[in-house]
Symmetry: C2
Subunit: 687 residues, 2 copies
């Protein structure tokens, strides 16, 4: 079927706004009912549904728990806001539509062994949410919000039986607030997003070479001279923890030692291995400054500091870092070298193992369990240390075999700018793992990590979301949940839900493009280009630009989104065009492709004229030229395929060269649209 | 000149996205260099400009003041972010590009009599900013950021001589945080926006029937049972005041008495005139609850409470409300009636005057001056009371003649949803004012007022900005600054600057449309309609919808913007089409009009299909149908004018009926595009 002309024109026009186009359309024919993310462990959809009207009422079944009550009110508010239907706010309604039954409603703070399971049974005109405790019920309330849908023009909750529980108990998100300080609104909205997708550990990377971000009342000099006056007071920390607890999220603080401590040594140089003037590190990388592991005074300080922080942070786990300690300052201090000799230590790694063991004892002395990066893992590492693996999944296997519990982060570094798909498919327990079932139980879960070298409060959300929601499913849902197109279908919906919560992953880049282009009109032009590009990885950008803490982060690359929607959607449409057996689908896909490619061609002169008055847009001048050429490639390939006339070998060679050139890391960006173009080119060549 | 086809096509396409189109284009031919807002009192533009490069340096000329240093750093950060050029952050550079000379750098908090003047002299390769004190310098730094522009593809600061000072010393913005609580991020970003446009009084309406929002340590029951647990702690208040002071903004708290006190009486019913059970008011309007003005215990309480608040809020002024006390409870209490008789009071107004006089004495006792709404003005009102006029400019004249100082707010109620133009042209001292020069000096300025009956943290910014920036110019710039098109030209730029500061007046409604439409694609369709509509005024919405504090505010009307850009721009383009003597201009304007009208016609079926699955969009079903008809009217009028063929009388009558129908307050909305359509219709009829 050919679309009637007005509709085609309309699509044509939408397609020109690259970011706008192609988001929902490829999915329209897929199953549209269930958009739950993460996917529940077990779900059965029954026939029928419960109308969602102003008569919707709730009963907490007599339970009185401030966290549960507040979460239920938030759920009602969210349902009201997304339907426009005013609801009563009573929480103990007789004969309620939604009954929440919590066996033990006394919970105030989640812990690693909290039972997070819940069930939802909706049928007839009633919904029953059951959970063993408050935190399971919180997850159920999030699922309930995601269940709301439109059926026959009305809002309904479908009839379902959900029996849900997480696969892993440690489902974390790490935020570095040292390299760039993240003010409280960022923290709060991050916690909102985490709760929405059932993440349950906020790992707060509070100290590093570039800034010490938490107030110590015992050692106030740490923030006084080590933070640019950008830090969280203890009152603020307590408020954040209360907010997180009320959303079923544990807060695990990290104090990174013995390396990454430049910011500590400014106010307390006596802790350092080398006496030199210390100043805040502005550039990134591995610094030499390190605590002196040979002095008793170091451990006396750590004991006092850990004790203070153990009181401030109620969670049973404390992260003590341990990564990237290069040992240079240790080797440069004769007393430390003597100490190593006296203790028969052959390497600084052995000295770090000694240090880690002592720190672990201090942490235990304050009734906490220690987490550390995988550098702390040695054959002698105490069994009660938890290993967070950032260098690869292998060290997690080693840890498990040694009997240490572990958390995987290596594949989940958000600054790598990898696609949701790629991170999503990386499992904490990989295919063919040699671990026994018992050893596998020691893998507690995973953490997405957001390092802050190249992000600001304005751009952080666009690096974190929605990709972290895909990872949340990896950590929560059964191992076999691996259908990538279905994940993207649900992720597109979840991304909008996160937008409604106040996260700025959509609005932030849009605002940035407005700023760059000087208004909406220019931003719409720039969006055509932006929708085809991803920022290069942290490492690649660092290599090209040598960013520091003082580098302004308001350039085009900062307002590109990793894994933009067009990447996955263009793959699907090209596939449909090339392989669909339905003539209507084939024809519709062809129309979408041609309109898109034409928009790329059209973008050239428009962006040239925009850039003439806009020095910052010149940063994308190569990409602008390439996009026009890629659009031309696309249009000509379509023509060749349709006409069954093979293009000349010279032309094909030229286009392959173009794809190769466009495939390089240029202007801090990567094109995300090349594979489907390659497919089209190959298909054209076969005719 | 006719545009070449690709460009026309491009415009055509942009125009379809109503909100995107027509924003910058009408202004492109106007003067583009100066976008300062508010306009300085005096400015001379010289030849030449100072290149803005990474060599730009600053010297505070030896001054050390934390407020000045922080503001200078913020300015450097903003310049970096908007140019992408990294700058050094030293503040005492030798031979600096920018020298800041502050005569008295000791300021820590602005007051009503702070000298806010400053001058900027930029020439050669140097810029000198001079001010008598820190707060004048802060204004100069904001101006400096607005001066940055692109010239010949490079960033420059133009050579100028600016001598600037405000017309009025009281340039306020009032935010009601009682009807809907506004969390701290809203407060902070509001202060950011105020500082950007040189507003200097944050009037914090902290108490009302619907919520008591500030912690009292002496009377904790006020918030414990009168706030839904939504209030600011005293620590938070102090932090807000520090933040405001550092931006040259005074914080004037309001405690509204003797009426609007329902929230007070829940925890302290003994203060009430009638003993009844009090509960938080959910609906709006004038409630009967009122403090008992006849009991000594009332004044003892007020003395203690005012004393506590006088310590908390350092500003010399305290607002004690006084509005809309209906006297019903007073008349219903025989003891109060007896008191009135005994004191020979003939009306409850006289009783309120007695009460106001006693409150003023209490306020004075705590070394504050009292501000009150114009109800407190009687012939006997003490001369040191300041009158804030909300009922009309007349009471301000009465106040001035009596010797009372006054602040105008009546024309500046943001919930009236009036255009920027209309509010902008309303002067605190109207044309033909009968006040003497001396009396005019008693008019201290004005305040934009944002009442919170129908706003939420998600929508507040779109009601406040950018309209409040236009008012800021009314309060700051010389009286004769009244060029409306030029104001709109600069306001469009300022709106983007506010967007960059993190205000959500653009991103919030965009996110709302995404939520309503279920994605970007639908949002773009909905934006065509939204760009032609304004929300009706508070009163009209209340009349139609009977909103309460519990009404969900996430409907289409909540995501419309008052005074959308299309209103002013369409007027300009229609005028150009009808009256331009340049054939090229005429032809370009015609093309823009036709594309726009066509986009309205096309929106019909698209929005119908969107609304089919979207119950909330049915709220705009009449407007959708009308927009298609209005688009058809437009297209046909253009044809008639071009062909010089008068349409039939029946058709004209039909179109007039359509315009009349479209002109009604329907579905909580007003069309903003009708006057230019009326003009086109009339022009068509004349042929």
């Amino acid at each position: 079927m050919n679309h009637p002309s007005p509709l085609r024109h309309y699509r044509n026009q939408l397609v020109r706004f690259g970011v706008l186009c192609l988001i929902a359309s490829p999915f329209m024919s897929a199953q549209t009912s269930n958009t739950l993310l993460p996917k529940p462990a077990q779900m059965t959809v029954a026939a029928g549904s419960i109308p969602f009207t102003g008569n919707f009422t709730v009963s907490l079944n007599g339970a009185h728990n401030p966290i549960l009550e507040a979460a239920t009110r938030r759920t009602l508010d969210a349902l009201e806001l997304s339907t426009g239907i005013p609801l009563g706010k009573g929480l103990q309604a007789p004969d309620a539509t939604l009954t929440i039954q919590v066996q033990d409603p006394s919970g105030t703070r989640p812990t690693l062994d909290t039972d997070e399971s819940y069930s939802i049974h909706s049928t007839g005109n009633k919904i029953v949410l059951k959970a063993g405790n408050v935190f399971g019920a919180l997850h159920g309330l999030e699922t309930l919000q995601q269940l709301l849908q439109v059926e026959g023009g009305n809002y309904v909750i479908p009839a379902v039986q959900i029996d849900d529980a997480p696969r892993f108990p440690w489902r974390g998100f790490m935020l570095d607030v040292s390299r760039h300080f993240m003010p409280l609104p960022v923290i709060y909205r991050t916690l909102d997003g985490m709760a929405a997708v059932k993440l349950n550990v906020f790992h707060w990377h509070l100290t590093d070479d570039q800034g010490f971000r938490v107030e110590s009342k015992r050692f106030p000099q740490l923030t006084q001279v080590g933070s640019d006056h950008l830090f969280y007071t203890q009152d603020q920390v307590r408020a954040v923890i209360a907010y997180a607890s009320a959303r079923g999220i544990r807060v695990v603080p990290e104090f990174d030692v013995p390396g990454h401590v430049t910011s500590w040594l400014i106010g307390m140089p006596e802790l350092g291995s080398i006496q030199r003037p210390y100043a805040l590190a502005r550039t990134f990388g591995v610094w030499d400054g390190a605590l002196d592991p040979t002095k008793d005074s170091t451990y006396q300080f750590l004991d006092a500091f850990i004790g203070e922080m153990a009181d401030l942070f109620p969670d049973e786990y404390m992260h003590m870092g341990g990564d990237e300690s290069n040992g240079k300052d240790w080797k440069a201090n004769p007393q430390i070298v003597d100490f190593m000799k006296a203790h028969n230590m052959k390497s600084t790694e052995e000295l770090q193992a000694y240090f880690s063991a002592r720190v672990l004892e201090l942490v235990k002395g304050h009734h906490k369990q220690m987490v550390g990066w995988d550098e702390i893992l040695t054959p002698n590492t105490p069994k009660d240390a938890i290993i967070q693996s950032w260098r690869g999944v292998e060290s997690l296997a080693v840890a498990s075999k040694q009997g240490n519990r572990g958390i995987l982060s290596a594949p989940y570094y958000l600054d790598g700018m990898k696609t949701s798909e790629r991170m999503y498919l990386d499992d904490p327990i990989p295919d063919g793992s040699a671990l026994t079932a018992e050893q596998q139980k020691l893998v507690l879960g995973g953490e997405a990590c957001m390092w802050a070298e190249q992000i600001t409060p304005q751009t952080v959300d666009s690096r974190v979301w929605p990709r972290t929601a895909a990872l949340a499913e990896r950590f929560w849902s059964p191992r076999e949940t691996r259908d990538v197109p279905d994940m993207y279908r649900r992720l597109a919906v979840e991304s909008l839900r996160l937008d409604a919560l106040g996260l700025t992953h959509i609005s932030g880049p849009q605002s940035g493009l407005r700023q760059l282009a000087g208004g909406e009109e220019g931003a719409a032009q720039l969006a055509v280009l932006a929708s085809t590009l991803s920022p290069v990885s942290f490492g690649e950008r660092y290599h090209q630009q040598r960013t520091s803490q003082l580098t302004p982060m308001g350039n085009p690359v900062d307002y590109l989104r990793p894994d933009p929607a067009l990447r996955e959607n263009l793959l699907l449409i090209a596939d449909r065009y090339l392989h669909s057996t339905s003539p209507a689908e084939h024809s519709a896909a062809r129309q979408q492709l041609e309109s898109l490619f034409q928009s790329w061609i059209d973008s050239g002169p428009r962006l040239d004229s925009l850039a003439a008055d806009n020095p910052r847009l010149r940063q994308l001048s190569e990409r602008r030229i390439q996009l026009v050429k890629l659009g031309t490639l696309g249009v000509q390939a379509l023509k060749a395929i349709d006409s069954h006339k093979a293009p000349s070998a010279a032309w094909i060679e030229q286009q392959n060269a173009l794809l190769k050139e466009a495939g390089s890391h240029t202007e801090l960006t990567d094109f995300v649209v090349l594979p489907p173009l390659q497919q089209l080119l190959e298909a054209a060549g076969k005719h």
